[in-house]
């Protein structure tokens, strides 16, 4: 099972994501914004990063860019949790190095199905 870093400034979203992932047997670490996530990533490896886009201190796009600059995260899948249906934020995320995205609102089943695509 995968070791996942879940980043979202919304406690309820984080709670939902963490609950779902742990229920599926993954190991999950939480961070409330991009900066906190980056600090964690500098000390620890993760198999997958799930990040919200809009966050205080450091947004998800910047986080993706900063993570890709870390040797340990060069190829780590980074999925953005985005509410945007359009291509704008997705492209921005991709340009910053994100692997893919999950469009909010999603339910636990959709989340797990998407996760399965990247961590097997």
């Amino acid at each position: 099972m995968a070791n996942i870093l879940a980043v979202d400034d919304s406690a309820s979203m984080r709670q939902m994501v963490v609950f779902t992932l742990r229920g599926a047997g993954h190991q999950v670490t939480e961070a409330a914004d991009g900066q906190a996530a980056l600090d964690l990533a500098k000390r620890q490896r993760f198999d997958l990063v799930l990040s919200d886009v809009n966050m205080p201190r450091m947004d998800g796009i910047t986080l993706a860019r900063e993570l890709r600059a870390l040797p340990a995260f060069k190829f780590t899948p980074i999925l953005m949790l985005t509410t945007e249906g359009g291509m704008g934020k997705k492209q921005e995320g991709k340009a910053a190095g994100a692997t893919g995205w999950i469009v909010k609102p999603f339910n636990p089943e959709q989340l797990l199905a998407t996760i399965k695509k990247v961590v097997g």
């Binding site: 919304s10 939902m16 205080p56 509410t83 249906g85 991709k94 893919g100 909010k104 695509k117 990247v118």
Partner: protein, 696 residues
């Protein structure tokens, strides 16, 4: 796997309410035309989170509503829209609507949708044609949905595709799950071994995927690598087999596919409630209950800064050191070590005092918690009353006990409302009086001694002494006027049912009077004073104890027992002059003090003790006030005044009438704290009972 989303709703609602508070306070600060990027960012983020969360947790009406707010904010953020006063007001109303909808979701009742629909309509109008254009430019329909026999996929990753964390193996594995797949590798792009970059993709593939598969399914697999590769997907067998490769970055299909679910969840017009009137009344009633619930649930826990906890640990550490030092000293004590013993005890005293102060501070919160509702309130009231008022606040960081804070909220609201409604004049009247058009209401808090003082002052017209006096005479509260001081006259304001407002406005003067304010404050062991000068405004000063856990007490002796009377309740103490005592109806005794008759309560009688003497003139009469009534408590002697720590009698023993708690004195004995209101009530009931039995 099925997961119950209900369990996350409480967190969602809580954080959304916090987000709304942020939105509200930022919006109140916001000036039309000059939006600070960071401010807009803050409110956008709050709206964005609420939208995302509400959609996720199944509150589609909140999500639809907030979506429009978010869109408008996003336009402002992008500089496409000006911040107008209209927009700010509309956003503030939206905050209220979302708050109501959240409350409805929380308590499970239907809220008044009329108002929501109205605000939503306003938002939609503001969004105007821009949104319509965007909606029309929605996803385009897709062609060739299903190919009967399968698909040929030519997939050529760009060299840096792997750097996005996408993995070719993953893509193929997913495709493989859809049907039978044949993979051909094209090695043409493979460089010589020496030139090979391990982090770059250099192979390309031609896949033949057999089976009844939707084009959409395949697009979904490649969705994330769109733009990172050359991709061509054509039906197998048809003339498309030799079709030219189309760079995927030019294919709009994946985007359209991704737009699908989001569009499905996008705003549908809110329906106005058919029986809105009925719903409103229900909603309003529940709102009151809700507030109560929230207040009581807040009682259960407290958030404490880690620095406060650290300070405590540090102090306990010091206490342990002092204790072990004293312990060692005690092992082989001799008189020549008296000085060291004294030092040690002094140290112990210091430790204890610091520890006490720090423990107290855990219950302390900055008064901004109580103040933060006022900017909005004053803003709204000004709009309603057509006044211009600037609200100044200072000392917001002054700390106050959490329980006191919760109970002082309503009295403060009342006083601020009064200041806005009755204190500050209309702009025209102000200009006529030669004052600036904009009035000022000032909230200030500071510490003084063991108390916190909260001042609510305005620079309005001030209290009208004549009118108050006239009203007091009319109500028979006083006979004449000229020798009364201003303070005495203004004190009439706190009499039950006393209102001088000529017009009972929508804003204040709705039954809850200043007497309730005063009662609430005295219940907290506090006091309220008024100062006012005609034409220059009034200042109401609330004095509150810092905490309910400690009380300034007057120690009194009754026989061999020591009691504590809260100092705030004591008006004066005097020696009894027998001529002033009137015994009426058998047992009740009254004492004539100036114009008033006070009932005498013999404490030894009330608590069944043996006093020094039962003669009134041998004892002292402590005149106290509780629950708005005065009485004289007969005691044997007055002892010291000191701060005492209140211990609950209920948790340690049981509830005793006329006693509010207990404390432990310096010599280790227990002293009971007299509940003034309770004992006055008790004596009245007791007297009544005795009178009854006498009559029988």
């Amino acid at each position: 796997m099925s997961i119950d989303m209900e369990q996350f709703k409480a967190t969602f609602i809580e954080e959304s309410l916090e987000g709304l508070d942020i939105m509200e306070s930022v919006l109140l600060e916001m000036q039309p035309g000059a939006a600070d990027a960071e401010e807009v960012d803050n409110i956008f983020r709050a709206a964005h989170s609420i939208k995302g969360g509400s959609a996720t947790f199944g509150f589609s009406d909140i999500s639809n509503f907030t979506h429009v707010v978010e869109t408008l904010l996003d336009q402002i953020r992008a500089g496409e829209r000006e911040v107008t006063q209209e927009a700010i007001d509309l956003f503030l109303k939206s905050v209220d609507c979302i708050r109501d909808m959240l409350a409805g979701a929380q308590e499970g009742f239907e809220i008044n949708l009329d108002q929501v629909a109205e605000v939503k309509a306003g938002l939609d109008r503001m969004l105007g044609s821009v949104a319509q254009a965007a909606a029309e430019a929605g996803p385009e329909a897709q062609d060739d949905a299903t190919a009967a026999s399968g698909w040929q996929i030519v997939f050529k990753p760009f060299p840096d595709m792997l750097r996005s964390g996408n993995d070719v193996v993953r893509l193929f594995r997913e495709l493989d799950e859809m049907g039978e797949m044949k993979v051909e590798v094209d090695l043409e792009g493979l460089p010589a071994l020496v030139d090979m970059e391990p982090e770059e993709a250099c192979l390309s593939w031609t896949l033949a995927l057999h089976g009844e598969i939707d084009r959409e399914q395949i697009d979904e697999v490649f969705e994330w690598v769109d733009g990172d590769c050359e991709l061509s997907i054509v039906p197998l067998g048809g003339d498309g087999a030799v079709a030219a490769e189309i760079p995927a970055s030019e294919t709009p299909a994946p985007e359209a596919a991704a737009d699908g679910p989001a569009q499905a969840a996008s705003p549908a017009p809110l329906q106005a409630a058919p029986e809105a009137g009925e719903r409103r009344s229900r909603g309003d009633r529940r709102q009151g209950e809700r507030r109560k619930n929230r207040a009581s649930s807040e009682n259960s826990s407290i958030r404490v800064g880690i620095d406060k906890v650290d300070a405590l640990i540090n102090l306990v550490g010091e206490l342990v050191i002092t204790q072990s030092m004293l312990g060692q000293l005690g092992e082989d004590f001799s008189m020549d070590k008296v000085e060291r013993l004294k030092d040690g005890l002094a140290e112990l005293e210091r430790n204890t005092r610091e520890l006490q102060e720090n423990v107290m501070s855990i219950r302390m919160l900055p008064i901004s918690f109580a103040f933060n509702r006022f900017p909005r309130m004053v803003h709204d009231l000004c709009g309603k009353l057509g006044k211009k008022i600037e609200l100044k606040m200072s000392g917001e960081q002054t700390e106050l006990d959490k329980t006191v804070m919760e109970k002082i909220g309503d009295p403060l609201v009342h006083l601020v409302r009064n200041a806005v409604d009755h204190g500050i004049e209309t702009p025209e009247a102000r200009l006529q009086a030669g004052k600036p058009e904009t009035g000022t209401v000032h909230l200030n808090a500071y510490h003084q001694g063991g108390n916190i003082l909260i001042e609510i002052s305005d620079d309005g017209a001030g209290l009208n002494r004549e009118r108050i006096l006239a009203k007091a005479i009319e109500r028979g509260l006083t006979s004449g006027g000229d020798n009364l001081s201003d303070a005495e006259v203004f004190d009439f304001l706190f009499q039950p049912g006393f209102s001088t407002a000529e017009v009972v406005s929508d804003v204040s003067g709705r039954g809850v009077g200043m007497d309730v304010v005063k009662r609430n404050i005295t219940a907290l062991g506090g006091a309220i004073d008024v100062e006012s000068r005609p034409g220059n405004g009034s200042t109401f000063t609330i004095r509150l104890p810092l905490t309910l856990a400690i009380l300034d007490g007057q120690l009194v002796r009754v026989g061999e027992q020591t009691f504590i009377i809260p100092l705030v309740s004591i008006i004066e103490s005097l020696q009894v002059e027998p001529v002033r005592v009137n015994a009426i109806a058998g047992s009740a005794e009254l004492y004539k003090l100036r114009d008033d008759y006070l009932p005498i309560i013999r404490l030894y009688d009330a608590f069944g003790l043996k006093p020094d003497s039962t003669n009134l003139e041998d004892g002292l009469l402590v005149v106290v006030e509780g629950h708005g009534q005065q009485a004289g408590l007969l005691v044997d002697d007055l002892l010291a005044q000191q701060q005492v720590v209140i211990k609950s009698l209920e948790t340690n023993f049981k509830k005793v009438g006329g006693i509010s708690g207990a404390t432990i004195l310096g010599d280790g004995t227990v002293a009971l704290i007299v509940d003034i209101g309770g004992i006055i009530e008790l004596s009245q009931n007791g007297g009544h009972k005795r009178a009854n039995s006498a009559a029988a």
